[in-house]
């Protein structure tokens, strides 16, 4: 069990043999900052939490330094409401700069006390002693010493926090300022760390939430009021389901096992009001301008209007920042344990104390009865300011009175995380006659970002009314001394749900400031850094800018494109500088940061590679240089990703990016070289380092692209298509225009019904019933017969269709869709009432061969008796024995009720007269025994033709030329077995063998859909039978290639796919990114899976199989390792399956992806038509 609890502060406050440093609280227990035990172990408390930035280590360094103890004697407790002081939300890089201050003084308070006491013991004054690692010694040479531990004994020593306690001068530091390995990484690297995701408490259940359709939006009258109904019967079959919980628009499910909670979440049918339309946020400028706002002037100096009027040339610019995601890698998770007397939550919140207040409101429970234990979550960068899942877990735990763990799905995390807000900035300015800035009129629009904890809104506890807050002003004041300066912030309510995101409004504001001054410099024909320095007054900023320019070996230049290029590549270099100002205006400055960015721009594709960044930062005093460097690296990589790639997509009603393909982030191949320069300022106060290095990113990169191309970009992200459109405003190559000739054959085009009536006269519609018998006892059949029957059932794949709902073998009930309606597979277990227990062998054989049930009614040809008619008597007998030896299941399959006239079972008699030929056909003695065995299996029990042959208007397999040339099963196209039609590589006997044995062939890929189940069923067959089938199947194809011809064809197809990838990427950049993010982790050319270029379904004339595979996923056939080793496909990865993307991709993305896949992997084929119709069909076939 992993039940992590920090001990409450009360455990320390009155503990004997303990020294505590406290701040008396107005009410309730004292705030505890430091506790030292008589063993010398120091526990220090801080109300902020570690968001993955390493403050646990840095805070321990501060405590160890000012207390003068060894670093590894200090343990930090962070952000637990039961243990730490309330220091508010962990935001704005404030922990070291602000929240650590009382801690530092608490350490100094304790040191002052302990050193004084020790000196007394030594008979000296405090000035005459030194202390190191908690041991106090006389300064004079002596072997006497007293340790802190020696001084702590007896009743609790309680010291009050003294904010005047003497701090050590920086020159005496031994721990602060030194690189300190992170304390948490050894456990994290070995799986021993407990994240909030890893909390397990006894009796814990698993919950999942079902969110309303207005994904990503939390204001408006529909919020909290859109729920209509829930159909609990839709999840009645979920094993271990404990509850379905509905409170307003909050819907959740709880189950004993996690995978079953997930199943229930997916399966639960909830009816909602449709979500209302939202403004178009994909191009957010118009929506932000239209959003009602209040203008707030931050400053107005000089005479801006006159300055503007006097400008040589007006430069009016608009900068647009999109909605972006925090994109935490670990979806939100929490565990809650509600009981009558109180609530404990294990939470990844950034704000434990505000979270406690939210829970109190949500549950009508006093705050004192709630404990928020904070555990580390995945990095969240501001997202967990609204840690919705903690409240979700609390609601579900209260409903079931058991501890409940809830984790959001990836899709829910993407949809519902409160986003980083979009922003629009207008700058009006220009040059005066001397080339100086004539005026700077800056207006910024930023929707507020204080999303409430979602369940408060969904349950109606808090009205869904948007607060307007003053948040757009971060670094809104430019750092340059513009004589005529006006800065206005338009405060406005949120549009999409939003929370703080690294750099908040300072990052877009600085994008505008630093892009604009770059433009001024170019217009004035002055080097961009030189121009900035003319107007930069802050001496630390000036030092930083100069240092970074020098480190980067900046070459002054007055116009773009001085770095040239090679081939299609243009090189450029850009600069930007910013100080991150946070908090209520005028705010507090965190670290200063400056970037020199080097880019390589491909002028044909528009791809921008950020190749190198030199980043300087003035953080004041540095606690842990490694930690600060890592924060800078992290900020550079994350902000580069945001600038080059990131933008949330929206449908007309909700957020639509639901996974990493739709919202790509920077990955390893694109990581730039980074050179970090830390300004040495040991005597200055430490400044927040968690966000500053992000702030200059956008302008530095955009300025570098300008340097490379001569074009200014003022709207993010800087995607290849945006760059290409500006560089090379030609439309991308149009895909070839000819549409594929549809060769798709439907079942039953309903042409030939007329003939059916006439037949009834000649055929015998009613067949006699065969008398029921006692269920035969299992011991009447020999073990050999039963074994042979087991193989017959395997080759017949009986259980693929006859499987019970809950997986019980042969229990029946599965619906097989036919154009006439659903045919339900029957129970074929030996239950006398529900199954075939009362069937004699003759009744069974008649059903198998003639399609007539024991009671005389005709079976529908979904039961492939036309094939079984060709199998041997011995096999049918053995199958009978095997089925009779199975456990009986009493479950009754639903009645099949088809549409008229197909509901007229007697008509099937006429059908049989037409299509059933019972001759045991396959006795061509000129063929080898292997071939004949293969024929018997394929054409008889194997009934391959039932799916792989087209059917005529009456549902009969077409014969002659159509035999085994392709059909349909469960909506999937079952490809031709006799012509290699569509397959880019012909099928060899070897490929057939690999495929049938393992579900994969190196030259064709993996079985999907119903075929995967068939292959699983055939696992039981001996190798010889599989080889026989392969031999027979290969012989059907007259033009079957040799092995070497096949591999040459495969190489050609793969090469064609590789060649087509660039044009496909250029023509369909969004789909290309979707492929990279969602598919390429398995399907990239570098992966060991068979290339998609060899997949028949991508070469087929209809997209159905491709779409079905994406929607339903592909279950890996569970062939044994031994079987895989025996085949040419032995290098395929272990049996990874493909997940279902049914709930992850919307129809538009699916269509884009299908079209892209076709263009990229089957470039010689015409684009598909009817993709949208195929999606509708496939969705219908994928319940």
């Amino acid at each position: 069990m992993t039940d992590r609890h920090d001990r409450p502060s009360s455990d320390y406050l009155n503990a004997p043999d303990t020294l505590v440093v406290v701040r008396p609280a107005a009410s309730g227990p004292d705030d505890l900052f430091v506790a030292i035990s008589s063993t010398g172990l120091v526990t220090a408390f801080n109300g902020h939490v570690d968001l993955g930035t390493g403050i646990r280590t840095a805070l321990a360094q501060i405590v160890a330094e000012d207390l003068d103890v060894a670093f590894d004697h200090v343990r930090m407790v962070l952000g637990s409401t039961a243990a730490t002081p309330d220091q508010g939300a962990t935001i704005a890089s404030e922990t070291i700069q602000i929240a650590a201050r009382p801690l530092r003084f608490a350490a100094a308070t304790a040191r002052h006390y302990l050193v004084g006491l020790a000196a007394q013991r030594l008979g000296l004054t405090p000035d005459d002693v030194t202390v190191q690692d908690g041991i106090v010694r006389p300064k004079a040479v002596s072997n006497r010493s007293v340790s802190y531990a020696d001084l702590i004994a007896g009743p609790t020593i309680r010291l009050e926090l003294d904010l005047g306690a003497p701090l050590k001068p920086a020159s005496h530091y031994r721990i602060v300022g030194q690189a300190q390995p992170r304390v948490d990484i050894p456990a994290k690297a070995t799986g021993a760390w407990t994240y909030v995701h890893d909390v397990r408490v006894p009796g814990m259940l698993h919950g999942r939430v079902v969110r309303p359709p207005y994904a990503g939006f939390d204001t408006g009258a529909h919020v909290g009021t859109s729920f209509i109904a829930v159909d609990e019967a839709s999840v009645a079959n979920i094993p271990g389901l404990v509850a379905v919980v509905v409170i307003g628009d909050f819907v959740g499910v709880v189950a004993a096992r996690e995978e079953n909670a997930i199943l229930a979440m997916r399966q639960l049918r909830v009816t909602w009001q449709p979500a209302p339309d939202i403004p178009d946020l994909n191009a957010p400028e118009a929506a932000l301008r239209a959003n009602p706002s209040t203008a707030r002037q931050l400053t107005n100096q000089g005479d801006v209007d006159r300055g503007l009027a006097g400008a040589a040339e007006a430069m009016n610019r608009t900068y647009v920042w999109p909605y972006q995601m925090h994109g935490s890698i670990g979806p939100s998770c929490a565990v809650a344990d509600w009981h009558e007397s109180g609530l404990t939550v294990w939470s990844g919140t950034q704000n434990p104390f505000p979270m406690r207040a939210d829970l109190a409101k949500l549950l009508d429970m006093p705050e004192e009865r709630i404990v928020v234990a904070r555990l580390e979550a995945a990095g969240c960068y501001g997202r967990n300011c609204a840690d919705d899942v903690t409240a979700d877990a609390a609601l579900l735990s209260r409903a079931v009175r058991r501890p409940v763990r809830v984790q959001l799905t990836r899709e829910q995390e993407h949809l519902w995380e409160p986003k980083g807000a979009a922003q629009v900035i207008d700058v009006r300015g220009g040059l005066d006659l001397e080339g100086g800035p004539a005026a700077y009129d800056f207006e910024t629009r930023y929707p507020s970002n204080l999303a409430p904890t979602l369940p408060l809104i969904l349950t109606g506890k808090v009205p869904p009314v948007a607060d307007v807050l003053q948040m757009g002003d971060r670094t809104a004041i430019p750092p340059y001394a513009y004589g005529n300066l006006r800065v206005t912030v338009h405060d406005m309510p949120p549009i999409a749900r939003a929370s703080w995101f690294r750099g908040v409004s300072a990052m877009p504001n600085s994008f505008a400031h630093e892009s604009f001054i770059d433009e001024l410099a170019t217009a004035a024909a002055v080097d961009p850094i030189e121009y900035r320095l003319r107007y930069l007054r802050d001496s630390r900023a000036v030092d930083l800018v100069r240092a970074v320019a020098e480190r980067a070996q900046w070459l002054p230049h007055t116009k773009p494109q001085t770095l040239g290029g090679e081939g299609d590549i243009l090189y450029g270099r850009g600069f930007a500088y910013a100080v991150y100002v946070h908090g209520t205006f005028p705010g507090t400055a965190a670290a200063w940061a400056a970037w020199v960015a080097d880019v390589a721009v491909n002028k044909v594709t528009g791809d921008v590679a950020l190749t190198r960044v030199v980043c300087g930062q003035d953080t004041g005093q540095i606690i842990n240089p490694d930690g600060v460097t890592h924060q800078i690296h992290g900020n550079i990589i994350q902000s580069t990703s945001r600038v080059l790639k990131e933008q949330v997509s929206f449908s007309s009603t909700a957020v639509s990016s639901q996974e990493w393909g739709a919202y790509p982030i920077l990955t390893f191949p694109d990581v730039p070289d980074i050179d970090v320069l830390l300004m040495p300022r040991p005597d200055e106060p430490p400044l927040g380092a968690g966000e500053s290095a992000s702030v200059p990113s956008a302008a530095a990169i955009a300025n570098a692209i300008f340097d490379a191309t001569g074009i200014r970009f003022r709207e993010l992200p800087l995607t290849p298509e945006r760059i290409r459109a500006a560089l090379n405003p030609l439309p991308p190559p149009a895909p070839p225009a000819t549409a594929a000739q549809s060769g798709w054959r439907h079942w039953f085009p309903f042409a030939a019904l007329a003939g059916l009536g006439a037949l009834i006269v000649t055929a015998m519609p009613f067949r006699p019933s065969i008398a029921p018998i006692e269920r035969p006892r299992a011991n009447v059949f020999s073990a050999e017969t039963i074994e042979r029957g087991r193989l017959a059932a395997a080759i017949g794949a009986c259980n693929v269709c006859h499987v019970g709902h809950d997986g019980v073998a042969f229990a029946g009930g599965r619906a097989l869709d036919t154009p006439f309606g659903a045919v339900y597979a029957t129970n074929i277990t030996p239950d006398p009432a529900a199954g075939i227990g009362a069937w004699s062998y003759p009744a069974f054989a008649r059903a198998m061969r003639e399609g007539v049930s024991r009671d005389g009614h005709h079976l529908y040809p979904a039961h492939p008796y036309t094939s079984f008619a060709k199998s041997s008597e011995t096999d049918i007998q053995a199958l009978y024995a095997f089925l009779m030896a199975q456990p009986a299941s009493p479950s009754r399959a639903p009645e099949t009720t088809l549409r008229f006239p197909f509901n007229m079972r007697p008509l099937m008699a006429g059908w049989n007269a037409l299509f059933l030929s019972s001759a045991s056909a396959l006795a061509d003695i000129s063929r080898s025994p292997e071939w004949r065995r293969g024929a018997e299996l394929v054409e008889g029990l194997g009934h391959c033709s039932a799916c792989h042959s087209d059917r005529n208007a009456l549902g009969a397999e077409r014969k002659g030329g159509a035999h085994l040339t392709g059909g349909v099963a469960d909506g999937w196209h079952a490809p031709s077995l006799s012509t290699s039609r569509f397959a880019p590589v012909g099928w060899t006997a070897e490929a057939f063998y690999d495929y049938l044995r393992t579900g994969r062939s190196a030259e064709h890929g993996a079985a999907a859909g119903p075929m995967a189940r068939v292959i699983e069923s055939m696992n039981a067959l001996p190798d010889a039978d599989i080889r026989a089938m392969a031999t027979y199947l290969a012989s059907l194809n007259e033009s079957a290639p040799s092995v070497s011809e096949a591999s040459a064809a495969a190489a050609r197809a793969i090469a064609a796919g590789v060649a087509a990838s660039r044009p496909a990427d250029l023509a369909m950049p969004v789909a290309a990114r979707l492929f990279t993010g969602a598919c390429a982790s398995c399907h990239a050319e570098t992966m060991t899976l068979t290339s998609l270029a060899l997949t028949t379904s991508l070469h087929a004339d209809r997209p159905d199989n491709v779409i079905l595979a994406i929607l339903q996923g592909v279950d890996a056939p569970t062939s044994s390792q031994a079987a895989i080793h025996a085949t040419a496909a032995s290098d395929v990865p272990v049996s990874a399956g493909m997940p279902s993307f049914r709930n992850t991709l919307d129809d538009q993305s699916l269509a884009d992806l299908a079209i892209y896949l076709r263009a990229r992997f089957a470039p010689d084929k015409a684009p598909w038509t009817g993709v949208n119709e195929a999606i509708a069909r496939s969705r219908a076939a994928s319940p």
Binding site: M1, L51, G52, D184, I185, A189, T190, G191, Y195, H197, R200, I238, P239, R257, E258, E259, L263, S328, I329, G330, P331, E376, A378, G379, Y381, T409, R410, H630, H633, G634, N635, I637, E659, W660, G661, I665, L666, T667, F668, P669, V671, H805, D806, G807, G1077, A1080, S1081, C1082, A1084, D1115, T1118, Q1121, P1133, V1134, S1135, A1136, G1137, M1138, P1139, T1144
Partner: protein
């Protein structure tokens, strides 16, 4: 399709476990909930991010995409099976030495992918390293430290002169029937 739970015998970190679950249950949930292993993490459940990676044999696979029934007799190794903080696997040691984590949620996948890379490419080039980690997502931007860790792990394994240093021992040794699903 919902299928009933059944007993499966799997081999994880050198031990045999009997678990009782539906055959299509992703291996990830079995490892985390039944075997109480915290190394593999849920990140997407879609095979996109790599947070759930485990080794099967010496190959890195995404346990969210592997059905319990597909595991069969293959040896599964998780982050815990590589080493512990007292005796870390060389790749774990390299990640620790290079401070290669911020939040560390992605770390499992990064380490597993590196072990698999070094097993197949004992002397990887920079491009091979970046490609091996390409479909492992890190949002904290720890890439620089991770790359440094992989390079030093590669150097160590080259120094040790045995490519197999990165490989894992996948022999199942003990069988504890009490480890069955609870």
């Amino acid at each position: 399709m919902l299928t009933a739970a059944a007993k499966f015998r799997i081999r994880v970190n050198g031990r045999i476990h009997d678990v009782y679950a539906a055959p299509r249950t992703p291996l990830l949930y079995i490892l985390r909930n039944d075997l109480k292993l915290n190394g593999p993490k849920f990140g997407c459940g879609l095979g996109e991010c790599g947070a759930c990676a485990v080794l099967i044999g010496n190959r890195s696979v995404r346990s969210c995409t592997i059905a319990l029934s597909a595991v069969r007799d293959r040896a599964v190794t998780t982050l815990e099976g590589l080493g512990n903080s007292d005796a870390p696997h060389p790749v774990q040691a390299a990640f620790i030495a290079n401070n290669a984590a911020q939040c560390g949620y992605c770390l499992n996948g990064m380490i597993i992918a590196t072990v698999a890379l070094l097993a197949s490419h004992p002397h990887p080039t920079e491009t091979e390293i970046r490609n091996a980690l390409r479909y492992h997502l890190c949002r904290c931007g720890t890439h620089i430290e991770i790359l440094a860790a992989v390079r030093s792990a590669a150097a160590w394994s080259a120094e040790a002169g045995q490519a197999g240093d990165g490989a894992v021992d996948d022999r199942a040794t003990s069988h504890d029937p009490h480890e069955a699903a609870s």
